[in-house]
Symmetry: none
Subunit: 430 residues, 2 copies
């Protein structure tokens, strides 16, 4: 039985990721990010992260030291069925406790193997041992249960390594067990996801607002063509925290305007576009050249996207732009495939051929080679054909990095569609 | 002066990344991957990685402990000019040595500021202090020199945090200084990238070969539908190392057979497919339903893919499968869209409509919803139409995870094409 009513007041956490594969040049621990995010939301700060190989002695030593420094120690991985999986043993040794077989865990594991119609190997029984005093954390997505134990030296959690097992366990099992041990406080976040502005321009725009405050804490993150502003406030009451997030968040929202595509921090641009299409009973079709199917792939990433995604055409050559989309050969000859008239003709063709409300199109020199003197590598035209024949095209130029160019063209084409749906940009009648 | 002629023989390294920003939910240390890769290639193994916040006491303690365990300790970051940049102080304290001002470093720094036409701030002088006995590592890409010191307790390196400063410093400054301290040896790698087999089946297949050897070191890494076997051998001569890689690698290659799609460790599956298409002067077109453009996007990821990628169709609804691809409505009514006849009809249509040598197609219930009793969620048909009307279809079923299903279907369809091109599977005449 766990001693959840312990006197510990965890505030500082230490995370130890276990596995020799995490010490290769190819692997990086990302689980600790999920854990950090969830701990931060209940007021716990992470002050050290470690990666330790599959070495019993070193691991036991690391856990022991961590328990001496932190209020909460979270161990990731090493809960599998093989001899290499040493986390249970090392954690028990560090605490000076025994591992005890759990008949209940064995029954759960046996049922799991029956349900997937596979025999349970003998070594899976290793996964049915719990540290004396630990509570098992259910794992509906895998064979290894987590473990949670509160000791006079602090709380210790053992979590499985696969992110799809770890993430729900952190959110549904670990955090609810930690919360009662923590001092009461209210923590809330407010997020903005943004596209269509660079990171330094964004910071120049909003730093005058947020830099005056240490609470909320403001973080700006960037990916290609994608930015995230994240405010985290803490206080003694909902009202206090809401007021802080409003005081800092509202001026930021106003400065960012329609560049914000999501305010919940989770929705991707394609999910936002999908929601807007669905709300308007509108549909979309794509005609892609330089993005080669990436826009269609992102639009269909969401479950239920058949509600609004109709069809996609990837026309990579002039000949196919003519044959499949009916772009007139004379247009291609006169302007080349990388031109505004051809981008618009592609968007209109996608719309017309599929019967969708909107057609979007891309054509460009993604790089690293290609381009002309007038239209150098990196030049990409992004077009939209809207209801009633209204069209719009924008041109971007961002150098010769192919991956970056394709990602930017995909992102900005989705954003063109979003702004058209919002009515903040207006395609013009032909 | 450094004591480079020291008696230490570094073999085990510990990496400590310093900076509170690396303990947020958004940031992950990737510098350690660059360092690990370079250390591995001179025979040094990394046995622990840590991330420590900007805390002098904790950092000093961590460096001290690391020096007690490892032969080489590498510190990343915290070399900036501000009060928060504590690495120099903590490292000196951990060694019990003083920091000494270097007139030479001050001259270098002053020249750097002159060259970019900016005044040098007073606090930049912090960057001109070296640990007693340390050698400065030149940093042409930033203001903070690295430091390298060999002590009776082991070697210690201080490296700047920005990857564009760190990477060249590791390759050009750190490794050349470590090499003379290491036992002379030759190190080489041999890699296999594999698809079409699960990680545990792969391990069952090849572990009997590699597990008898500690040299070469064998690593198996996995992503969705994608595996990587990596052998790293060390020895006293090229001939010895080549023989080891042959002794272990050749039987593995034989066991894996045509599941290996790349032997250089770098080529992606789409690059391999592209190369095979180009070598055969063959082309491909795609007709995608459940993968929604992902196959086309991957095939066009490579520069020059217009040599072999002709066209892609994303037909997400029955109506579009009929309208765009001409899949007979009676076929859709009789078998549903998720069926072998429809998958084959889609592949043939892609081939016929585009004039490509090969047509490939996907249709399935990607999830998380959908499916029928006969064809549950996760059922996906992958089809290929080859030259002379030869076709082939395979069915996969992998649960309800949409992202995983779409990725697997994309990967396995590309692999179906690869094996057809190799002639190791044979599409059958209709």
């Amino acid at each position: 039985m766990s001693t959840l009513s312990s006197a510990v007041t965890p505030k500082l956490a230490e995370i130890i990721a276990i596995g020799s594969e995490l010490l290769t040049p190819q692997r990086v621990d990302t689980n600790s990010l999920i854990i950090t995010q969830n701990l931060n939301l209940v007021g716990v700060e992470v002050f050290t992260k470690q990666v330790i190989g599959d070495d019993r002695e070193r691991l036991t030593d690391a856990i022991q030291r961590a328990l001496g420094r932190a209020d909460i120690v979270v161990l990731i991985g090493g809960l599998g069925p093989t001899e290499d999986d040493l986390t249970r043993d090392a954690a028990a040794a560090a605490l000076g406790r025994k591992l005890e077989h759990s008949a209940e865990q064995e029954a759960i594991l046996a049922a799991r193997f029956r349900s997937i119609n596979r025999p349970m190997a003998q070594n899976n029984l290793r996964q049915t041992y719990l540290i004396d005093g630990a509570e098992a954390l259910p794992n509906p997505n895998g064979t290894a249960p987590g473990q949670f134990v509160v000791t006079p030296r602090g709380a210790l959690a053992l979590l499985p390594g696969p992110p799809r097992e770890l993430k729900p366990m952190v959110e549904r099992e670990l955090i609810p067990r930690l919360k009662p041990l923590l001092p009461p406080q209210v923590i809330k976040v407010r997020s903005f996801r943004i596209t269509g502005i660079g990171e330094s321009d964004l910071d120049t725009l909003i730093a005058p607002v947020y830099s005056k405050y240490t609470n909320p804490v403001t973080t700006v993150l960037s990916a290609i063509g994608d930015l995230w502003v994240h405010l985290r406030a803490q206080g003694n009451s909902e009202a206090e925290v809401d007021a802080l997030l409003k005081e800092v968040g509202d001026p930021i929202a106003e400065l960012l305007g329609d560049r914000v595509y999501s305010t919940d921090g989770e929705d991707t641009l394609e999910l936002t576009v999908g929601r807007l299409l669905r709300e308007r009973s509108a549909t979309v079709a794509t005609a892609e050249s330089c993005t080669g199917g990436m826009i269609a792939a992102r639009l269909t990433d969401a479950a239920g996207s058949s509600d609004y995604f109709v069809a996609g055409y990837v026309t990579y050559t002039d000949q196919q732009k003519n044959a499949i989309l009916g772009v007139p050969q004379e247009l291609l000859d006169k302007h080349t495939a990388v031109s505004e008239p051809v981008a618009l003709a592609m968007a209109e063709a996608a719309q017309r051929l599929s019967g969708a409300t909107y057609g979007v199109a891309t054509t460009g020199y993604a790089g690293p080679g290609g381009g002309t003197e007038a239209e150098p590598v990196g030049t990409m035209y992004l077009a939209i054909a809207g209801p009633k024949g209204a069209t719009r095209c924008s041109r971007i130029r961002h150098g010769a990095d192919r991956y970056r160019n394709r990602t930017l063209a995909t992102q900005f084409t989705l954003d063109l569609l979003r702004k058209s749906l919002l009515g903040t940009i207006h395609p013009k009648p032909l």
